[in-house]
Symmetry: C2
Subunit: 310 residues, 2 copies
């Protein structure tokens, strides 16, 4: 496995792949890899001749007072894991590589897609994500990029950015990988103490119950109240919790009315962020109520679960 950091090195690597007509798949990560990341790498392996993984803890997607400094890192272990999976190139840019002195250009997606959920509780987070993803894609120019779907909103935003800026890359979303008890894999799970770790699966249990409730016709407000109470009683502190229209992330009822639909005909996203101790965890479920099979988690690009970054 090769390892490079600077932009000119990575460009030269890419030029070499193009000369050899090799298809490149890219998995951007922030490192401290878990099974969720490895599932992305395996998917990338299936999709292309050359697999490139980046590890970069991107400062512009952390707000003041967030966990940038204590974000978990273990490059030695990450290198071993990626090598074992046959990754071709590990790209570990420095801050100076990604944001040279004077860098002041940002790529942002405006509107409900970015203003809800994590966009509301972490106001500059997604601007940092879309900016760094635009830069990484621009330098590497992969044919395909693979993202986890735990961060549903992040995947929607990256898709929108790629479409709007006419970036020529195919995006693939991969289902969230979970622990046996349903907890979504996350690098931030490392922050959980033993009691918090035991309590955290309430997120998944609660989301699945909320999906059933919504599918059974319970009003969104009642669904959210029940879910919030469940997480709180398990010791979680809810950051946000919402039912949104799954495509636009607009208000669920508004989106339905704008489309002339009853809300029951639109896929809904139930998304949650909650603190357990010092770990902020996110998860979500997509529900198709009415018409469809009652409750459905989407597997395709564009609808889904899980963050490539965390």
């Amino acid at each position: 496995m090769e390892q490079l950091s600077s932009v000119p090195e990575v460009r030269a690597y890419r030029a070499c792949c193009r000369e050899n007509n090799q298809r490149v798949a890219f998995v951007p990560t922030m490192g401290y890899l878990h099974q969720g990341h490895l599932a992305l790498v395996e998917e990338a392996r299936r999709l292309a001749d050359v697999v490139v993984v980046s590890i970069y803890v991107n400062p512009t997607q952390f707000g003041a007072g967030e966990d940038l400094d204590r974000y978990p890192r273990d490059l030695d272990r990450d290198q071993r894991l990626l090598k074992a999976l046959g990754v071709d190139l590990l790209w570990t840019p420095s801050n100076q590589d990604m944001y040279p002195d004077g860098a002041s250009t940002f790529v942002s997606v405006e509107g409900t897609l970015s203003s809800q959920l994590c966009g509301a509780s972490r106001p500059t987070h997604f601007r940092g994500v879309t900016t760094v993803v635009a830069k990484l894609l621009q330098v590497l120019g992969p044919e395909v990029a693979v993202f986890g779907l735990k961060d549903y909103q992040q995947f929607q935003l990256v898709q929108r950015m790629v479409r709007d800026l006419f970036l020529e890359v195919e995006l693939v979303g991969v289902e969230t990988v979970r622990e046996a008890d349903g907890l979504a894999m996350s690098s931030r799970n490392a922050f959980l103490g033993p009691d918090e770790r035991s309590a955290a699966p309430v997120i998944r249990r609660g989301l699945l119950a909320a999906a059933r409730d919504l599918g059974a016709g319970l009003a969104p407000d009642a669904v959210l109240a029940r879910l919030g109470a469940e997480v709180t009683s398990a010791g979680g502190r809810v950051d946000y919790i919402d039912v949104l229209e799954a495509g636009s992330l607009g208000r669920y009822a508004d989106a339905a009315m704008a489309g002339g639909l009853s809300p029951e005909d639109l896929p809904a996203l139930i998304a949650l962020a909650a603190w357990f101790g010092s770990a902020r965890l996110i998860d979500n479920v997509v529900v198709t109520v009415g018409g469809g099979p009652g409750m459905q988690e989407s597997r395709s690009n564009g609808a889904p679960h899980g963050s490539a970054a965390d």
Copy 2:
């Protein structure tokens, strides 16, 4: 001369140039072409095998109440002029081509480079410029793009964006082309009535006098007061007028102090926007005071004069 509008068509055209190893030079414009634009096309012709000119009056760089609707247009005449210069492709995207339904991604440069001058009096203008230039460059992927330097600030911002987002294109700036009496060529000169047209060359005369004054050691405030009075007494209404550090567009004195220089050692930009009747005109001069030859207009990329767009 070929003419295309949609993104897939232009991508196919570009792919064809690449297969033939043809170097592409690109001149983005808003049409209603004048000698300034034609100088850009001639420069593009010198620099590449294939010359592509776009004509697109980009709505996102006009603010509410600005002159988007009445911006002058004459596509027939533009086509004839470009054909006569041997342009290979005229790209005339529609709003739907550039901003398909739901488009909500913006590229912006933050800091003094965008907040001063036109960035202060037209708050969303440069966000629109950098967004549309990023999209045009992304679709066409030219080897070189040519901009006029009447809008000094625009060229600086596009350079910064290209550098920050790692776009692989060389940028070339071309000196402002002027009428015999010194008035900078601009599509908006079409808005000038006869008296306003006679008065407008005061902009250039005043800027040259201001450059001499600054070079001779007159304090910036006094230079600006004299220039403002001259423009006003000729019937102009000053929108902004400023002396800035030519590289960063930061405050002239601050920039010098930050660099441990006396202000006399730094190139200064004297920039002005003024209304004559319903036409908002801009112009500028770059001055090297001290050390250098007294007064100097820069000709190279990165320091200079004139807008590709207007």
